[in-house]
């Protein structure tokens, strides 16, 4: 299996398991560990953890929110000036989670290059 796919799957699993026990920043930890164990190259260093966590967060949020008819999602989307659009809020959630994970992935890469 291609390393990108491996890292992608591993990041999602790790991030999900961590989220059961640790605060939100555990996604950064997941991306870091995943990047260390399954090294990535070039743009993938950032984008694989970004996409992995973005998808995880969007799916998790969607499941929670759709079960309640997106009542709160629409209100929070109004609050955050996203025009009351719950889809935009889901995307924003993905971007925030993805960004944190992607940057952590970069840091992970630098660590492994430095220490190996």
């Amino acid at each position: 299996m291609n390393k990108n796919i491996k890292n992608f799957i591993f990041t999602i699993i790790l991030a999900y398991v961590f989220s059961l026990y640790l605060p939100w920043w555990s996604i950064m930890l997941a991306a870091f560990i995943s990047g260390f164990l399954i090294p990535l190259k070039k743009r993938a260093i950032f984008f694989i953890p970004f996409i992995a966590v973005a998808i995880l967060w969007i799916v998790q949020s969607y499941i929670l929110s759709s079960a309640n008819d997106f009542i709160l999602a629409e209100k929070i989307a109004t609050l955050l000036k996203l025009k009351g659009n719950s889809t935009l809020l889901l995307l924003a959630t993905g971007v925030v989670g993805g960004l944190a994970a992607g940057i952590s992935g970069i840091f992970s890469k630098q660590c492994s290059t430095f220490f190996k």
């Binding site: 059961l20 605060p23 949020s61 309640n68 009542i71 209100k75 609050l79 944190a100 940057i103």
Partner: protein
């Protein structure tokens, strides 16, 4: 190079973590806030419809809680201790953030959570002596072990709920503002009751009146702010004979002088529309022969609602009604034997004393020709992201020196101290709990005795067929005119000399007219043997209500509903027919004529699809502004005269000096003002039409219910289709109105209707957050499910069992 890249990526990672984990400006910490496992997505949930078992420490037996289709909990416990513990737990489940926020607001602690913008508010609350007042309450409670035990049981229930939460379970507002709930205490219950005391009895105009008196003199004052209007339909029927009250001694007027000081600025007052209606008819006047009682308290419209509906039941009591999240028991409601309700008594229970300090240290003040020591309270106001602010508040025997050199005062060595019944302690919590278990008139009469402030018109009806109303509170026995103006804090004669004996508080039981009612109007007529002056009494709603009950012999439930939803604008009906012919004579454009004709054909009902109320209100507001331009434009603090007196002066004193508009060279009369105001109103109506596409009253008034946190639009409800206005029985103005509407017929057991503008859940993510709003706006009611048996399951959507546990 490697190390540089490592360092850079480390910094970037830390920066990302920091930015997403920290509240930046008004933005919540986005990582935490949007995380599906920890953030706001966890609040995307409507209260579970599944059965559940919960362990609650300290219960003596299992407690059953059944939730009906509107999430109203019906709690069945074996004894009062279990009942109040469960009440605390259940209430916190749905209203935790609100409970805590209100007590933070009461104690001047908002800066702690929202930052420096709240500092002035916090200082005002501290200087009003809110925390001092709560502490005085606690001292009274300490003499009443039973009540203290119940309040502590309630607190323990709240705390067991808080302790069961993980950060992801916190209500959404905590996540938004990034803080955590703290322990609930009995002091917080006292602070909540202070919050209500301030809301209902925290207003006065003494300093504004003093300013007016100094500037314009007594004759002008008495004309603008009379003790009685030329009409009066008091709460206690005017024909009441007071001669059976023994030893009524009114305090004699001292001969000493009053200080006359100018105050530029005074502290913020509660909203003048805080008020209420209640009424009850006797068996003779009731369609069924059972007394019927109604109550609708008018407060600021907020989400979560100020009220939380519930049923509290033990083998000895069965009570239904609305509670205040944070206090034990039901505040307005009914049980199997009685129903009761409250309106605000609006009496003058705040007076101000000028204090002369010996020197700049404020350590001693002049009293009875000597120097008396003050005490000081250092108020620590924590500010989010800033250094703690320390504010020293000086206390005299009158009360806190609210205004001094450091706060809106008049320089060194001078202060203004507040004397307030809100600082006298008192046992409101006892009254509430005793009302919950009262079985008849005598129980009710005893229950309310300890209620001190905020003074209330407590209405009563029983299945035995009695109706009654007591104006209950602790009232200073004032000399004629005492406390209307600033007094001399050094003169013992100016102190409150005594209090009106509780049994002399005005009341009526089963009056001949067959009904009792109150709508914040004058409690009595001038024959009452104690001094009561007009501190902003209602004069419109009460007349509509009393005229309605005088209009026929029998009343049924539909009559009660119609009256609570009555939109008749008595003020307009008294002034418009006088104004219109005068304006008709003026030169008007065709557009102006058209608008005048529209308002002329209006039936005086403030219904949502009428344009008449919009034209009238804009016209009147401008008229009042032009009439009282002297007051608005003054640099000292002054209050508008009452609405009724404004109309009276416009009609009867059209050439008075106040009618002149100072901005124009001509000397205006009332008739000129009618025309000027009308033309201005037409321009404003055009503007409104352009902006909203209509000038219908519903859209023009645009009633909204704002979230408790600065009316966050995302959590608020706007443009509600509901008529009425301030001064109308349906007292719904833009952000104020009936916060609970209740009608109870005293069948056995009682049959009741109720509704409030909100929902049981405080979670904006819940379907129950605002599910009653539309029902309320349309003037409809819920049939209250007064369960007689805990095994009954009609209309129940799920239940919880609270089990005793020792862990």
């Amino acid at each position: 190079m490697k190390i540089f890249k490592l360092g850079l990526s480390l910094v970037l990672t830390l920066a990302t973590f920091y930015a997403l984990n920290t509240k930046l400006g008004s933005l919540p910490p986005l990582g935490k806030f949007l995380s599906p496992s920890q953030g706001v997505w966890q609040n995307e949930v409507t209260e579970s419809k599944k059965e559940s078992d919960i362990n609650l420490k300290g219960l003596s037996a299992p407690v059953t809680v059944k939730y009906d289709e509107h999430l109203v909990p019906h709690i069945f416990a074996e004894n009062p201790m279990d009942l109040y513990k469960s009440q605390g737990y259940v209430t916190a489940q749905h209203r935790l953030w609100q409970m805590e926020f209100q007590t933070h607001a009461s104690s001047g602690r908002l800066s702690e959570i929202i930052g420096e913008t709240a500092l002035n508010y916090d200082r005002t609350e501290r200087r009003r002596g809110m925390v001092f007042g709560a502490e005085e309450k606690l001292k009274t409670w300490e003499n009443d072990k039973e009540v203290l035990d119940y309040v502590d049981a309630y607190a323990d229930g709240v705390n067991q709920y808080i302790n069961s939460l993980n950060p992801e379970d916190y209500p959404v507002e905590y996540k938004l503002l990034d803080y955590a709930p703290e322990e609930w205490t009995r002091k917080k219950t006292a602070l909540l009751l202070m919050y209500m005391t301030k809301m209902l009895a925290g207003g006065d105009s003494d300093l504004e009146y003093t300013n007016f008196l100094k500037k314009y003199g007594k004759e002008r004052f008495d004309l603008l702010y009379p003790d009685f209007f030329d009409v009066n339909d008091p709460i206690i029927p005017a024909e009441t004979d007071w001669s059976n009250l023994e030893n009524t001694i009114q305090t004699p007027v001292p001969s000493s002088e009053m200080p006359l000081d100018y105050m530029k600025e005074t502290i913020e007052k509660p909203h003048p529309d805080n008020g209420s209606n209640n009424w009850a008819v006797s068996p003779e006047k009731s369609y069924s022969g059972n007394p019927i009682l109604a109550n609708d308290p008018h407060l600021k419209l907020n989400l979560p609602s100020i009220w939380y509906a519930m049923q509290l039941s033990t083998p000895e009591q069965n009570t239904y009604g609305v509670s205040l999240p944070g206090a034990a028991g039901i505040v307005i409601g009914f049980n199997e034997h009685i129903a009761w309700g409250m309106t605000n008594a609006t009496r003058d229970v705040i007076d101000w004393y000028k204090i002369e300090f010996e020197d700049e240290t404020n350590s001693n003040y002049k009293y009875n020709n000597t120097w008396k020591a003050t005490s000081k309270r250092v108020e620590e106001i924590k500010i989010r992201g800033k250094k703690t602010y320390l504010d020293t508040v000086t206390y005299t025997h009158h009360g806190p020196v609210t205004y001094d050199v450091n706060f809106k005062g008049n320089g060194e060595k001078i202060g203004y101290a507040m004397r307030w019944t809100g600082h006298l302690g008192g046992q409101n919590q006892r009254t509430l709990l005793d009302l919950n278990t009262s079985k008849n008139y005598e129980d009710y009469k005893n229950a309310i005795k300890t209620f001190l402030a905020p003074a209330q018109n407590v209405i009563f009806a029983s299945t035995e067929g009695d109706i009654a109303l007591w104006i209950q509170g602790k009232f200073p026995n004032k000399w004629k005119g005492q406390g209307k103006f600033l007094m001399d804090g050094s003169n013992p004669e100016h102190d409150w000399q005594s209090f009106i004996p509780q049994e002399h508080n005005a009341h009526t039981k089963n009056p001949e007219r067959g009904f009792v009612s109150s709508a914040n109007q004058h409690p009595v007529d001038s024959s009452y043997p104690y001094y009561v002056f007009n501190d902003g009494y209602e004069i419109y709603r009460n007349r509509v209500i009393n005229d309605f009950f005088r209009s026929k012999d029998k009343f049924d439930i539909q009559d009660f509903k119609d009256l609570q939803n009555n939109n008749f604008n008595l003020q307009a009906s008294e002034l418009l027919p006088f104004m219109i012919p005068l304006v008709e004579k003026a030169e008007l454009s065709s557009e102006e004529k058209e608008i005048l004709n529209k308002v002329k054909s209006w039936n005086y009902n403030n219904d949502i699809d009428e344009v008449g109320p919009t034209i009238w209100q804009i016209w009147y507001d401008k008229l009042a502004e032009l009439t009282w331009d002297e007051i608005t434009n003054d640099s000292i603090a002054l209050d508008y005269p009452f609405k009724y007196q404004t109309a009276y002066l416009l009609k009867n004193y059209p050439n008075d000096k106040f009618m002149d508009n100072l901005e124009t060279p001509e000397i205006e009369t009332a008739n000129d003002l009618f025309e000027m105001a009308f033309k201005d109103a037409v321009a404003k109506l055009n503007e409104l039409k352009t902006n909203k596409g209509t000038i219908n009253w519903g859209e023009a008034k645009a009633t909204y219910i704002g979230h408790l946190l600065q009316a966050l639009p995302a959590f608020s409800r706007f443009d509600l289709p509901i008529g009425g206005y301030s001064g109308i029985v349906n007292a719904t103005s833009q952000n104020h109105g009936p916060s609970w509407r209740m009608i109870v017929e005293m069948t056995s057991p009682p049959t009741a209707l109720g509704v409030y503008p909100g929902g049981q859940s405080g979670n904006p993510g819940s379907k129950f957050y605002d599910d009653l709003v539309d029902t309320w706006a349309s003037g409809e009611y819920l049939e209250l499910n007064f369960m007689q048996d805990k095994n009954q399951n009609d209309g129940i959507i799920f239940s919880q069992t609270l089990n005793p546990s020792n862990e």
